[in-house]
Symmetry: C2
Subunit: 423 residues, 2 copies
């Protein structure tokens, strides 16, 4: 037995893609942590008819809990509470204490600002104090209270759209009797993430098919794989008594793909590189990625302990002036060549007084390719102390894909070099 939930995100600006929904993913994560299975997220505009259709759909699907976000504002197009009340067959009634509370918040927000008709504002906000009879009211973080409606069907939690209001109010909602009852069948799951780099998705698929026959209890593992930024992520969710099957899966993946399975605890390559760089001093020299690698290293707070800086040497003159690359070398080998990236690395080490450096030079397109060096050709050189790696790869995709993929490849080469694995 388990508890299932659905999320309804309302708002025309979200439906039309003008505003990115941040509540669906956040609530999904919260439900997962609670052990509640999320079945559906649905998004619609501020139209009562469409909201009602989605409530009906989720109720028909037999979910135990529905969470809605959005549509609690004072304006006429915000209709979620009234729509939920009608769906549940409840009257709306004015919550006088809540009306006073909203008025107090507004008075504090608006104060004595000149030109504001406080009574008009207050009248507009009276709507927000109308709640379904018998519902539990969630105190507002902004000006909009939420409600929890229990009863015969699924329990419905109605929350406001702004994430900074929704998030604390969700925690209040979870503590209510109606929500606790709805999720009483939840299962406690474990969830683990593995990360791989350098393996095709179909290669992983083959190993997983093998695992199906070879591992006892494999069916108890709920595995999802995802290709992202050139890496494979494998997320496995399982009940505690399937821990042996999961351990066997990790062992099998390690056996078959040891070199590509780089993270068994979910840490990203960025986090691992940051850890490995402690006590080092790193510099970058970038051509086609033009700062993406430097910016990615600097994403990590505290990076100033080891990140000295970098050069974006987009032009050949910059390679010569800023990194001491010999123009003759560029003329002979081309700007995208292994000798040139090795020279760029040396220049970065020297100018930044670094012991670790990465250089990237490639053809991101759409122009600049040739039969010998087509678009997607990228040369890498990495130095970490006495360890050196040089590589030339052909990366797929468009200009933006190639630049991002090259940055990821550089992070992985850096990780290898920092763990002492050279060419």
């Amino acid at each position: 037995m388990s508890a299932r939930a659905g999320i309804i995100v309302t708002g025309t600006e979200v439906l039309t893609g003008r505003v990115q929904d941040r509540n669906g993913p956040w609530l999904a994560d919260q439900l997962l942590e609670l052990g509640v299975e999320l079945a559906h997220i649905t998004i619609c505009g501020d139209r009562p008819r469409d909201i009602t259709a989605q409530l009906r759909f989720l109720a028909d699907e037999g979910v135990d809990l529905i969470v809605t976000s959005g549509g609690l504002g004072p304006t006429a197009d915000d209709l979620t509470v009234a729509t939920v009340a009608e769906f549940c067959g409840r009257e709306l009634a004015l919550d006088v204490a809540m009306e006073e509370r909203i008025a107090a918040i507004l008075r504090r927000l608006i104060g004595d600002r000149p030109g504001v008709d406080f009574d008009a504002v207050r009248a507009a906000n009276r709507k927000q104090a109308m709640v379904p009879v018998g519902a539990e009211v969630l105190a507002p973080v902004g000006t909009a209270p939420g409600v929890v409606v229990g009863g015969d069907g699924p329990t419905i939690v109605v929350l406001p759209g702004p994430p900074r209001e929704l998030q604390p109010m969700w925690h209040t909602a979870v503590a209510t009797e109606a929500v606790q009852q709805a999720i009483s069948g939840r299962t406690q799951y474990r969830q683990e993430m593995l990360r791989m780099f350098g393996l095709a998705e179909s290669g992983l698929a083959e190993t997983l098919r093998e695992a199906e026959g070879a591992i006892a209890g494999f069916d108890a593992l709920e595995i999802t794989t995802c290709l992202r930024r050139g890496e494979l992520e494998i997320v496995t969710r399982y009940e505690p008594d399937a821990a042996d099957a999961y351990r066997d899966l990790v062992t099998l993946l390690r056996d078959r793909h040891g070199a590509t399975l780089y993270s068994e605890d979910g840490t990203t390559v960025d986090e691992q590189v940051a850890g490995l760089l402690a006590g080092h001093r790193i510099a970058t020299a970038e051509s086609c990625t033009a700062g993406l690698l430097a910016a990615r290293l600097a994403d990590i707070p505290g990076c100033s302990d080891y990140f000295a800086g970098g050069v974006v040497s987009y032009s050949n003159e910059a390679k010569a002036e800023m990194l001491n690359v010999d123009p003759v070398l560029i003329a002979e080998c081309g700007a995208v060549s292994e000798p040139v990236v090795e020279s760029m690395v040396n220049g970065a080490l020297y100018h930044f007084g670094a012991d670790t450096a990465v250089a990237i030079s490639g053809i991101a397109g759409p122009d600049g390719g040739s039969p010998e060096k087509p678009v997607g050709t990228v040369c890498f050189a990495v130095r970490a102390g006495s360890v050196a790696i040089t590589r030339t790869l052909l990366l797929p995709g468009n200009r933006s894909d190639i630049r991002e993929r090259a940055t990821t490849v550089a992070m992985h080469l850096l990780r290898r070099a920092l763990t002492g694995v050279g060419d």
Copy 2:
């Protein structure tokens, strides 16, 4: 009469919030442009039961068109095509020509890479060539073909999850007979975008309220505003006979907010800067943004005509060594100060032989703030020929927000300077 559509986004990684869905918003925008009304977006995991429930829901809601994204990979958990086929009552059959085509793509991708069992990979990918009988097959951009299934109910377009595959395949799908029939009731709209920088959303709201009273036919304009990357985007959709009202709206916004309304044709600041940089030579000097500005300039194909390169001077030593910033100046004024960014700009101009340069130095946090210079303090210096701008701003948000916002501010200062507007 109009045409209505629904979007189904599949993928456990999207449902659980681990991967941000980019297809829903993109498809929403495409449908809007076509004049098709989007009623619902639904998201579920890779479970046939849940996908079927969503197909049933949308069909019951009477939509004319359903677009699905995701679940077309070679792994066993990718089941969208089979689920759609069953929903439509169609058998799956091997498309032999498509199988050969996928094999050819794989052969090119994998080549003679050592250790790869090509036949095994090909077998895993055979699944991708199984298509519903009578469906129109969309040629793959990656390795997964899409399908369009017409018939009695809504037309269903099945597309792969990766956006760079989905997007071109969507355009192919729209051209098919089955989709054209499904959307034959659409209304032709015009859609225009304005972009503003430096205006608060509430200031815009006030002007729009004013417009309601002042502009004849204002109600025929469907306006959505969106705050994104520190800019305000105003998208207006209208039927052709409301063109006068739209023209009046633009005039009003120009009158009220002339300095902040920088784009009336939807062009981004990046595109405008790229145009203005023709014939110039630009270099960057970045501290807290650490390459984000350089990478953003290099996003534009053809930027090598004007982009010389940049320095990421994360450490104080790098500011001295690579940009000739006097260490005494840093000691006296601090690394985040107007004299230091002005010195960084001069260093960038000199070392890269540039006539245009931008320097950024700031405190992105979470540490490093002080009462005088709190986290979010960012100094900018821009030079374009004889025009110079220096600014210190306090930017809101977390580390990542501050770095991104600083990059956007720099682009706008650069745009100003290139149009001859200095301090």
